[in-house]
Symmetry: C2
Subunit: 207 residues, 2 copies
């Protein structure tokens, strides 16, 4: 935990510790100790503890949603006015998130899935600002795929998908129930998880 700048060391330590103990239960003293920087450095670089969280989250989800929009634009351009295949649309939504989040370790998924359920002044607004365009695009596109579904059905199913995704990302294999003959290596695999999730959601939207 050295060699990098102070700011980055704080972000790294915060990511780890927020994931481990949650945001409110993690003190700046723990973070700065873990990052081997001075306590006051957090307020110097991020203004406040909330500012630190905000930057951490933004740094993570902003590129994911940019990538989603980019893929959606490309797919729709290629389709040339035809509706997309639902499975492709779901993959566009899920893959950037699962890949990005899993690649950089398991810390951010823990944090994000908690933040989706936890109130934080200003942060919900920020996430909503980032996510809203994607959700609108997704619901609109899915409505073209599945015209027999009402917007309410599509939106609520979109939320089921988000819930399943978040649960997947934060899913810890240590909780495994014994006696079922589960192969841990299989169920931990990145590809296995993503493909299962895509299949589950694709079928779920249709059913």
């Amino acid at each position: 935990m050295s060699g990098l700048g102070t700011k980055q060391r704080i972000l790294d330590a915060a990511r780890t510790l927020f994931a481990e103990h949650g945001f409110p239960a993690t003190s700046l003293r723990e973070i700065t100790k873990h990052a081997e920087v001075n306590l006051a450095a957090v307020n110097y670089h991020f203004g406040s503890k909330d500012g630190l969280l905000k930057e951490l989250v933004n740094e993570c989800i902003e590129p994911i949603n940019t990538e989603r929009i980019r893929l959606l634009d490309a797919a729709e351009a290629e389709a040339g006015g035809q509706p997309l295949v639902m499975r492709d649309l779901i993959r566009i939504f899920l893959e950037p998130a699962v890949r990005e989040l899993c690649d950089q370790g398991s810390a951010m998924p823990c944090i994000l899935s908690r933040l989706h359920h936890e109130p934080h002044a200003g942060l919900e607004e920020m996430m909503s600002d980032i996510l809203a365009p994607t959700i609108t695009r997704f619901v609109t596109a899915s409505h073209r795929c599945l015209p027999h579904r009402t917007p309410e059905e599509l939106l609520i199913r979109g939320h089921f998908m988000i819930g399943a995704m978040l649960h997947l990302l934060d899913f810890n294999c240590e909780e495994l129930v014994p006696g079922l003959g589960i192969n841990e290596e299989v169920i931990s695999g990145y590809d296995f998880r993503l493909e299962q999730l895509i299949s589950f959601c694709t079928a779920g939207f249709d059913g």
Copy 2:
């Protein structure tokens, strides 16, 4: 918030405030003030703040899982050795939770969906103790419904279902994205949500 005993008033206040601000961000002073009882009453009746949470959670999820097991026993007895219909199995798992949690207001769903992602010493163990038999029974029964699926596929899909359910329970309609023509009354309906969730998961398990 009076007329009931001190212990119950504390539980009620804690449920409300934990849901609103989260467990770590809620102080015992807020709780006891809201419940109009003395600060020390919490430690007298529950031993500690953690003890209060533990009792609150146990009081909520224990009857849900008892009911799930009861329904599963009844359904399997009625089937007389034949595999259950997947949709029925999913309903057995989801309906007690959705009904119980929605009936007693929206407070507990918020708390529970957070706890599923938040670490708490001893509490995870407690929840695991209560949930493990249900999960084992569910995976076993679903394997008989869908023998072509591997245990890993069934378990990970069971977790998708849990994720979707938790997200549904804690889903706040204020977050609705405008411009999609969503009817808020429809999407807020208890029956609509439950039936959509069951359909989504039933199809998801098959797909």
